[in-house]
């Protein structure tokens, strides 16, 4: 529920004029940043568990992922509103501008993940297949960071920070995979 707070703040800011002179541009930027932040947080859950042994990150991972998808969808809706829901303008942007292509693809990749976020889906797909499918989130987050990097006019520092965090999280998982893989040969691995 707490994850809906930014949406409430956004609506309140829009209502009171706190979004400034160009509220649609502001709302686009804020929902985009929220999406990427929530994606990165959801990605951080497993590495955090691997590094610390804590179990609570795993319990909020699904909620973070779904919130990321929700804010991504809202970001896309505001983009559509910005362009008067013109499918022509959207198609042109998606096909001709790599910055939009990257963001649009990232959102599309999140759709199957959101649809298979339930416990039933894990059973239906089998854990291995479900896990492989959900590794798409790394691709989605990377495309999201690229979308941000290509979207800013000149100040590339913030998108590079996101990209760095995503790379670091991926590295943690990669390094921590070693012992897990060897566990099959009888060595006790981390829980």
């Amino acid at each position: 529920m707490g994850g809906l707070l930014p949406a409430a703040v956004l609506i309140w800011d829009a209502y009171t004029g706190a979004l400034g002179a160009n509220p649609i541009q502001r709302a686009t930027l804020q929902t985009g940043l929220l999406t990427l932040t929530l994606l990165v947080l959801s990605l951080a859950c497993t590495p955090l568990r691997l590094l610390t042994g804590w179990t609570w990150p795993a319990r909020i991972r699904k909620a973070l992922g779904l919130l990321a998808f929700g804010y991504g969808a809202l970001h896309f809706l505001i983009y559509l509103l910005d362009h008067g829901f013109s499918l022509g303008a959207m198609t042109e942007d998606v096909l001709e501008r790599p910055f939009v292509t990257a963001g649009f693809t990232a959102l599309l990749l999140l759709v199957p993940l959101a649809l298979t976020s339930g416990r039933n889906s894990v059973k239906r797909l089998g854990f291995a297949r479900w896990t492989r499918l959900h590794q798409l989130v790394y691709l989605a987050a990377s495309l999201g960071a690229l979308h941000y990097y290509w979207g800013v006019k000149k100040d590339h520092v913030p998108p590079l920070i996101y990209a760095g965090i995503i790379a670091a999280l991926f590295l943690v998982r990669f390094l921590k995979r070693g012992p897990v893989g060897r566990r099959g040969r009888g060595r006790p691995g981390p829980a």
Binding site: R97, K154, D155
Partner: protein, 264 residues
């Protein structure tokens, strides 16, 4: 929206003017920071008086002139111009100032002068954003001499009947209404007449995205977004962007025979 209490002049647009509040809280002025709200928040650090402007290069008498002296050379005029940002938004700005052509003629360019270069203030104390290297400082801009002599090219010292606030480029800024906003350099400290085309900040920063001419052109998209439409600040929908920002009748002749896709 505000309407001026005076008859409109030949260069004024009749469109509704953007409010002072909106025009002075939503600014691109990286010398203060890259966020649109940074300039209004930090403009207090800019000290627009005392202020001098250096005039040099291909002119008969190079000189350094105080801003109040320079301003006293010309009667102040009102100009209500459209302003189109390269990012896809626009405003209608009631400027106060004098035509650039009058200033250039007074400086008596030599026969070699072909371009005008403008340089903005370099001072990390007054411009905290200059501590970041997001752009090469100081900000520099330029015009071809015939562009600078066009009656629409304007030097502003005021906005909405008030002295120009820091976030809008105090105490002296360029206004070229048929070009994207980044051409209209703010807080000018130097004007140099040159023989060769001067370097310009955004063209240096991203040469594939921003050119020397930067004429508003809906037919030439920015590599990352379309320039066909714009949002007028204060409106929800988008409107069509006009060639030369609606000033084609006046300025298109300056570019006769030029490939505007090449010289973007």
């Amino acid at each position: 929206f505000v309407r001026p209490a005076r008859p409109l002049g030949p260069y004024d647009t009749q469109e509704a003017v953007t409010s002072y509040q909106q025009a002075t809280t939503y600014n691109n002025f990286y010398e203060f920071g890259t966020d649109k709200s940074d300039p209004a928040r930090l403009a207090g650090s800019l000290k627009p008086r005392p202020w001098t402007v250096r005039i040099d290069g291909e002119v008969k008498k190079p000189q350094t002139v105080d801003i109040d002296t320079l301003q006293s050379w010309f009667p102040l005029e009102d100009r209500i111009y459209r302003m189109r940002c390269v990012e896809g938004w626009s405003m209608v700005m009631p400027w106060l100032g004098f035509p650039l052509a009058g200033l250039i003629r007074r400086l008596e360019p030599t026969g070699k002068a072909k371009y005008v270069q403008f340089t903005a203030l370099l001072d990390t104390k007054q411009f905290p954003g200059q501590r970041s290297n997001v752009l090469d400082w100081p900000y520099v801009e330029g015009l071809r001499l015939d562009e600078a002599l066009h009656p629409l090219a304007f030097m502003a010292v005021g906005l909405h009947g008030k002295v120009l606030p820091g976030q809008s480029g105090a105490p002296l800024r360029l206004v070229v209404p048929w070009k994207y906003g980044f051409k209209s350099i703010k807080s000018i400290v130097k004007i140099t007449l040159t023989e060769k085309q001067p370097q310009t900040t955004w063209a240096l920063a991203a040469p594939g995205e921003y050119g020397f001419y930067a004429n508003v052109n809906p037919a030439v998209p920015h590599p990352r977004w379309s320039q066909a439409t714009e949002r007028r600040i204060g409106e929800l929908g988008r409107r069509k962007t006009l060639p030369f920002n609606g000033y084609a009748d006046q300025v298109a002749g300056l570019y006769a025979g030029m490939d505007l896709r090449k010289f973007f």
